[in-house]
Amino acid sequence: MAAVSDARRVLEVRDIRTRFHTQDGVVHAVNGISFDLDEGELLGVVGESGSGKSVTMMSLLKLLPMPPAEIVSGRALLEGENLIALDVERLRRVRGAHVGFIFQDPMTSLNPVLTVGYQITEPLRVHLGMNRAAARRRAVELLELVGIPMAASRLNDFPHQFSGGMRQRVMIAIALACEPRVLIADEPTTALDVTIQAQILDLVKRLRRELGMAIIWITHDLGVVAGLADRVMVMYGGLVVERARVNELYARPRHPYTRGLLRTLPRLDGTRSERLESIAGQPPNLAQAPAACPFAPRCGHAFERCWKENPLLEAVAEGHEVACWLDPETGAARAA
């Protein structure tokens, strides 16, 4: 990777709002999400199930079924081009060539009736105009890059002939095929065993060094993010509630949800806790767009204002933003 003094912005996302129209009413899944991504940066996205991690990223590329999904507002500028305004044809090209997406479940995104070789060479031929032989050579390189043994002999195999960990590697190879500017990985290791997860994380760290891609890594595992990310964005109820550089976030979490989350986790090292701290209550109901702080019903620090107004993200330190009505200096309720 060439040394870049001033990191260049590759992706600029502003005010994404997405909802679903279901039989039981509207689900306000994403309620105004903005973030930036620089070249070579790895942004970790954490938050509990249903907090809107997948829907946010799928909205950027319009990968959601519409209806029931509706993207109510937002822009996603990839090197200046607004993806959300693109027509279907142009968007398909962007998806294949400039943004790689690794989905939560590899089996739903790999086509079971096509060989792995076909699935890797297809984007190379369509988007990069390679001929058959060149595309196959490149496919073998890619499979070797992600650590599939005897790659050349496996091109004609079907997805079910690979183990879970290997399928995830194949997914990574496909996502990398056209050397995208941005790689979005949605819980790519959640379904894998820890020793296999360690293999994949090791691979991703190596690929980052070698290819210098910008990566968005979605997970609910705060351990995975700690070892991988440059910056972390914490989501709750379809909103970003905290964002900071990784060391800062773990050393000085500010949002009561982030704090609670970090405290609730048992540790593999250090002293063994007698009793786990827990966050009381249930995840938020998304039937209404948030008019107050979505964490208020579970927050031990909530005061009057939290129930009336939704706090916006505000900088509390260099590169550290928090959406909370507590005073960033004292941690107590704000005067006004």
Partner: protein
């Protein structure tokens, strides 16, 4: 052999469960899945024994064989001094209430068409509960003991959150006053913020009711928190067993070491200079396990003899057992 002199609540000896692999129109047996292949351990009264290992290593099968939900292929299960391996009929029926199970997915294990009251009351009826009033009172008491509103008896499972549904599963398991509960990944389907609630509940109940747990999980940090002793499984065998403190501080088996080093820690400072043991390849199939030591195909320490001779299950230090030729 154990440092504790009290007789164990449960002991298994050479416990084995093989599943036949059938194929073709005539369902001929073409192979055998050696899901559980000779386990030796005991569980002491009021303790939590953690059982960890990767997907498919045989944890759930072990739990089910112990509870007699599957018949053992070989070996013995001794519960409070009685061999229960071959119990049948009325004797087995009388045994059942004393041992219960809590399942991974609260969604799948609760009948969606039954009310919470019926779900929890069912085992009581089956095992001859008193009258209707007494039954209702017991159900309410159970709901209260797991931290749910006793007024919820007429609601259906879908009206509850995941964490609440898991509490219902716990209440049902408690209905017949069991002594021993196999908790099979009871928190794996729950959100991190909810997991602690359920784990705390299980710990409180253990304390209050004197329960003994076999706690199955692949979450090594949670196992460290909840278990008194931990057994590590690989391909149908236990490779190491020690107290939680000792196992995490001083793992002796190369697999345990790799497993622990692979768990991400939520501390960027530590993560940035942690040594990882990256194992190559995948876990082999239990239908065709490697000869000698089953870990030999992935073990960074493997020597030729590991492929030839199966390591003995040795007690290397008091209470610390390991199956590796080179552990010392």
């Amino acid at each position: 052999m154990s440092t504790d002199s009290a007789p164990p609540l449960l002991a298994v000896e050479k416990l084995t469960k093989h599943f036949p692999i059938m194929q073709g129109v005539f369902r001929r047996q073409v192979g055998t899945v050696k899901a559980v292949d000779g386990l030796d351990f005991e569980i002491r009264e009021r303790e939590t024994l953690g059982l960890v290992g990767e997907s498919g290593c045989g944890k759930s099968t072990a739990g089910r064989v112990i509870l007699r939900l599957y018949a053992a292929t070989a070996g013995r299960i001794v519960f409070r001094g009685t061999d229960i391996t071959a119990l049948e009929g009325e004797a087995l029926r009388r045994m059942r209430p004393r041992m219960q199970m809590i399942f991974q997915d609260p969604q799948d294990s609760l009948n969606p068409r039954m009310t919470v009251g019926t779900i929890i009351g069912e085992p009581l009826l089956e095992h001859g509960a008193e009258g209707k009033r007494a039954l209702q009172a017991r159900v309410e008491e159970l709901l209260e003991s797991v931290g749910l509103d006793p007024g919820f008896t007429n609601r259906y499972p879908h009206e509850f959150s995941g964490g609440q549904r898991q509490r219902i599963g716990v209440a049902r398991a408690l209905a017949l006053n069991p002594e021993f509960i196999v908790c099979d990944e009871p928190i794996a389907a729950l959100d991190v913020s909810i997991q602690a609630q359920v784990v705390n509940l299980l710990e409180d109940l253990q304390e209050r009711l004197g329960l003994t747990y076999l706690f199955i999980s692949h979450d090594l940090s949670m196992i460290r928190h909840i278990a008194d002793r931990v057994a590590v499984m690989y391909l149908g065998k236990i490779v190491e067993l020690a107290t939680s403190d000792v196992l995490y501080r001083e793992p002796l088996h190369p697999y345990t070491r790799a497993l622990l080093s692979a768990v991400p820690i939520h501390d960027p400072e530590l993560e940035s200079h942690r040594e990882r043991i990256i194992l190559s390849g995948d876990v082999p199939s239990p239908a065709d396990p490697p000869s000698g030591c089953r870990f030999s195909t992935r073990c960074p320490m493997a020597a030729p003899e590991c492929r030839e001779r199966e390591p003995e299950w040795r007690e290397l230090r008091p209470g610390h057992r390991v199956a590796c030729h080179f552990a010392e």
